[in-house]
Symmetry: C2
Subunit: 284 residues, 2 copies
């Protein structure tokens, strides 16, 4: 997904929010804003939004030093999600279609996102909504068919807390899963520690993609991760940032997400609030 | 009011919206965005938000030619507001405190604002809300006292349609009023024609401030307007942009507005949605 013009103001907002979360004072915030203005001024065409986000956070880090401003928020999200875990499992067990239930749960977990909203919605309410909602894009028949043929899955994680919802899907699918998180802190994206907090290490092999960027920016990923991606017969990619970076990464990639911004909505052809399971296009 | 850091992303949004309203194509939109980035890059400290808006719209005009993209919207706002006029007059007549009722009506009219939202709220609903709402800032005792002593009023208009609500206040006050609108199109700000459509010429002397900028940017105003401002014993200034430019323009200025953005909210000390009647500080 290329950067749309609406992403420009959004990038500035993201810069401000990151600066403030990192406890920048007013002058530092202004400096970060101005650096972001320059960044946007010189944006190469074809840049995708997570690449902008990566560079915005790089600006913040260069000024303020490396830190993990979302550390506490991530722990809290995981704690809340773990509290729901028994009820989520029950939903799957009682469902006529446990696989679909588990997919919906995994997508419901995608509501946990501090990049877009500062407040987290009531998690259980989101689960209930997602269970009643039709898919705006639904490639699940193809997804089911491909899952039946695959030996293992590369699962690209999104946010801490959402990990618990992913665990329900992974346990339901019952295939070997490599669960890839981020190498370093970026927003509230899950790190190894967050995946372990959610007990993903009990049902998957944990790796990182080698980056501290949202989504999956191939140019930044480690060779080890790229090899896993290459070899994976099927990839599940969670969340908007993975959609933004992988929507044309080939037909073995399935993006599971909630649409959170109008730009993605226009691209995917469904309004904000929609739930999507979409097979990526060829293109790479 | 100086420009806050949160105004930066907002200015980019305004640039995009103005470009699209003026039917700019994708490339023109990008050009306008980039010009706005440069503008923000070089922003002198002490710039206020309407000055940014003025220059953003200047960029749009330079690229696309002069036009009045809000022409139809302004006509429609005035039409809708005129439809409410008899009910607004009735509200005043039936009130125990007609003066306060008329002030509230004038502030309710300030909801008409395409700069902040694309959709207009239900007007009557806003009137009802504003009638039930306490003032978040209330300098009305001082305002009443000053009104009793003044020979005439300079009334600084805001948006088309809001003009009809202003008319109710002007008719209730019953003093000679000079009603100042903008010289050229800027957003949905009222021009002479819009004031005439709302029949302000029946109850006030119409002038312009010589600008095509929101608020009252003294550096851009005509000498004739500045003379009127100088000589006016009391000034009523409607809306956020007038607050942004006149909040320290002296104690004869009373700002009547609805708080529409968090930045103004922080400055005025009241959350978005608040209604405010505030005497300006000295400072000039």
């Amino acid at each position: 997904l290329k950067t749309y013009l609406d992403c420009y103001p959004c990038a500035l907002n993201q810069a401000l929010r990151a600066a403030r979360l990192s406890k920048a004072d007013e002058n530092q915030q202004l400096f970060i804003l101005k650096q972001t203005l320059s960044l946007l001024q010189d944006l190469p065409s074809g840049t995708n939004p997570p690449e902008i986000g990566y560079r915005v956070h790089q600006i913040v880090r260069e000024l303020l030093g490396a830190s993990d401003p979302y550390f506490a928020a991530k722990k809290e999200s995981t704690r809340q999600a773990l509290g729901l875990y028994p009820r989520l499992k029950e939903l799957v067990e009682r469902s006529d279609d446990p696989f679909e239930a588990a997919i919906r749960i995994s997508i419901a977990g995608n509501i946990i996102d501090y990049a877009v909203k500062d407040e987290i919605d009531d998690l259980w309410q989101t689960v209930e909504r997602v269970f009643q909602q039709p898919f705006a894009v639904d490639d699940s028949p193809k997804f089911r068919a491909d899952l039946r043929r695959t030996g293992h899955i590369l699962y690209l994680a999104d946010n801490a807390g959402e990990t618990v919802f992913d665990r329900v899907l992974i346990e339901t699918i019952g295939l070997p899963v490599i669960y890839a998180v981020k190498e370093g802190p970026i927003l509230n994206d899950a790190l190894i520690e967050d995946a372990e907090d959610a007990h993903l290490d009990d049902c998957a092999t944990l790796i990182t993609n080698g980056t501290r960027a949202t989504g999956t920016i191939f140019d930044l990923c480690s060779p080890e991760f790229l090899r896993e991606f290459e070899q994976a017969p099927l990839v599940i990619a969670k969340g908007q940032a993975n959609y933004e970076t992988l929507s044309d990464a080939g037909e073995k990639v399935y993006c599971l997400l909630q649409v959170k911004c109008p730009v993605i909505g226009t691209d995917v052809g469904a309004p904000a609030g929609s739930i999507v399971i979409r097979q990526s296009a060829k293109g790479r």
